[in-house]
Assembly symmetry: C2
């Protein structure tokens, strides 16, 4: 029997939209209900398409339906790929009333959203996230982006979708490594905002890794609810929304230094969370025991908690200095005052940051 579908509402006045979470959702008329024009363009990657493209297309039988398949990986999240999406839209004479559907993970969603935001100054956009990471994080909140060769997500817009359709059946075909990467963002959400949820994760992490449907739906819903709460307070990241970047200043530097596509984003975030937690601990804001719980939960999820062996600390520091989260007063860090309690901090001693980076390169010597 299917789990009863849930609906969460993202309340952003005239840009409000629903998030549906359940099973067998995008093969139903749900998708069709959110398409206003007579044309759709589905953007996906070859792997996801092999599993789910037919189902998505079956909801669009009475429409002009074109497809763009993008090779898998963060290294294709570029202006060049978006340019190919524009070529297809123009070639097939898509009008401003067309709907772009992102069928895939965070890379597909971020890039398709950006294309939708810019095609004829704004076409409709629907998210069908198929990775756990996209379901709990990337598909929610209207951040669209592509990468610049030297800085992640440097180019993009805020652009909200018409709806998000999260069908957890798509997780059945998700590789283990990507499932774990999604768990990193779930841990992040709990750490920022919700100590009870963190505790729930400590108890249920093995069920999630075993892909127990009810545990996954619960964790997705709770993560989405945290993110919705934060973004409806601050859609365009003037202040509190920046909390969602816990671990991300470090993570983006790791991804840039390694080159896109070596580590998954969630893997870099896991290490970033540990670095942020350790930095908070060294500043006497975060308990030793809490730091151990963070490391322990991520280790149970089989996520990395140390930097790649090859990391160059000077390069990481340089990438961090280019990060979007830098403002006039220097780098802005998201740190922890406790589990479930994140804060924004500036004026952090960069020598301490450097020391923490050095201590976390490669295998643990302990």
């Amino acid at each position: 029997m299917n789990i009863q579908p849930l609906m969460l509402k993202v309340d952003l006045s005239d840009r409000s939209y629903p998030i549906f979470i359940g099973e067998n959702l995008f093969t139903q008329d749900l998708l069709r209900r959110y398409i206003r024009g007579k044309q759709v363009l589905i953007v996906s990657n070859p792997t996801v398409a092999s599993f789910y493209l037919d189902a998505a297309k079956s909801a669009c039988l009475d429409l002009q339906c074109d497809i763009v398949l993008v090779p898998e990986g963060e290294e294709y999240k570029t202006l060049a790929t978006v340019s190919e999406i524009f070529d297809t839209l123009v070639e097939h004479k898509h009008r401003r009333s067309t709907t772009l559907i992102a069928l895939g993970g965070g890379v597909i969603g971020d890039m398709t959203g950006f294309a939708a935001a810019c095609y004829q100054r704004g076409a409709d956009f629907i998210q069908i996230p198929t990775s756990l990471l996209a379901q709990v994080d990337a598909a929610i909140g209207g951040k669209t982006a592509v990468n610049h060769p030297k800085a992640k997500n440097m180019i993009g817009t805020f652009y909200q979708p018409r709806c998000v359709i999260t069908d957890i059946n798509t997780l059945k075909t998700l590789p283990d490594r990507e499932l774990r990467a999604g768990i990193a963002e779930i841990v992040k959400a709990a750490l920022i905002w919700d100590a009870d949820f963190f505790e729930w994760l400590e108890k249920n992490i093995m069920k999630m890794l075993a892909r127990d449907s009810r545990s996954l739906v619960y964790a997705i819903e709770r993560s989405c609810a945290i993110k919705i709460k934060i973004i409806t307070m601050d859609e365009k990241e003037a202040n509190i929304r920046a909390l969602l970047n816990l671990g991300h200043t470090f993570a983006h530097a790791i991804e840039c230094e390694l080159g896109y596509g070596i580590w998954l984003h969630g893997e870099a975030v896991a290490v970033g969370i540990v670095l942020a937690a350790d930095l908070s601990y060294r500043l006497n804001w975060f308990e030793k025991d809490s730091l151990l719980r963070v490391k322990n939960l991520l280790t149970m999820a089989e996520l990395p908690i140390r930097l790649p062996q090859s990391s160059s600390v000077p390069k990481l520091l340089d990438y961090m200095s280019t990060d979007k989260k830098r403002d006039e007063s220097g780098l802005r860090f998201v740190l922890l005052k406790g589990i479930g309690n994140a804060i924004l901090a500036t004026d952090i001693d960069m020598n301490l940051v450097q020391e923490i980076l050095v201590n976390h390169v490669g295998e643990d010597g302990d």
Copy 2:
């Protein structure tokens, strides 16, 4: 003595901004007042820069000020050029608080606005339009764009500047041909909305061509006021804003068919206005005498009123079918019910459109 500067306000709630029109404006502290961060990037072209870059830079002496010069012409209004702007911003570590300043005509303004809209999901943006066309049209209203090889302004966003600074001294160095191209958009504004202003233009066109400052300021202010009135009713072109596209469905097709950069946009618009006026006349909506007045005014301004000799009517029709202004019910035309009274029309007989195109190719046989 300087003409007293004017200020018009574009009222779009939290995206409201002022337009200043006058002499010696951007060398004063006016520009500085609208820069919030500590970094600026000025985007210009080599010709405009040779005249006005130093003045603009002198307002930014206490700031990090970087420059991107883009070769002149519509053919450089591409994603590739915007990508170079992003490269400069990233390389020089511009933060989200940076301000992009467009110093130039419509091409520079559209492209810089698009770069500002997308850099780190939205940097500040100031327009300093230096062509008459940009001062009366392109710089007002928040449409940003680059061209797709097959369709004009296909890629862009709605993104409002922090302010527009129109210094009519910049018109002193504007080539005659570009001055006339700007007059085409002024004629367009009058035709859409303001019969008295059209009459004023008929009387004062020679003064404008002679670059009489008071006449130019008056025409710029009146054109801006018409555009502001329309866009504040309909910022994102759901309906009435489309009136501003009078002549533009034809003009975009002409520009695509000729190749970007052969005719100036305003020249194509002039012919587009004549075609729209003739179509309106053939539908018995527009008087013969009014049609003659339109042709006469454009001819006085030494603007073209016929299609290029080389035009292929089938190709023009094909380009029109790709135009953004097409919706489910087919091509949407802006037509005239009289001077100062434009309307939106669909279901226009394409055979009639074809006939009018054929009749307007090359030299007039009359």
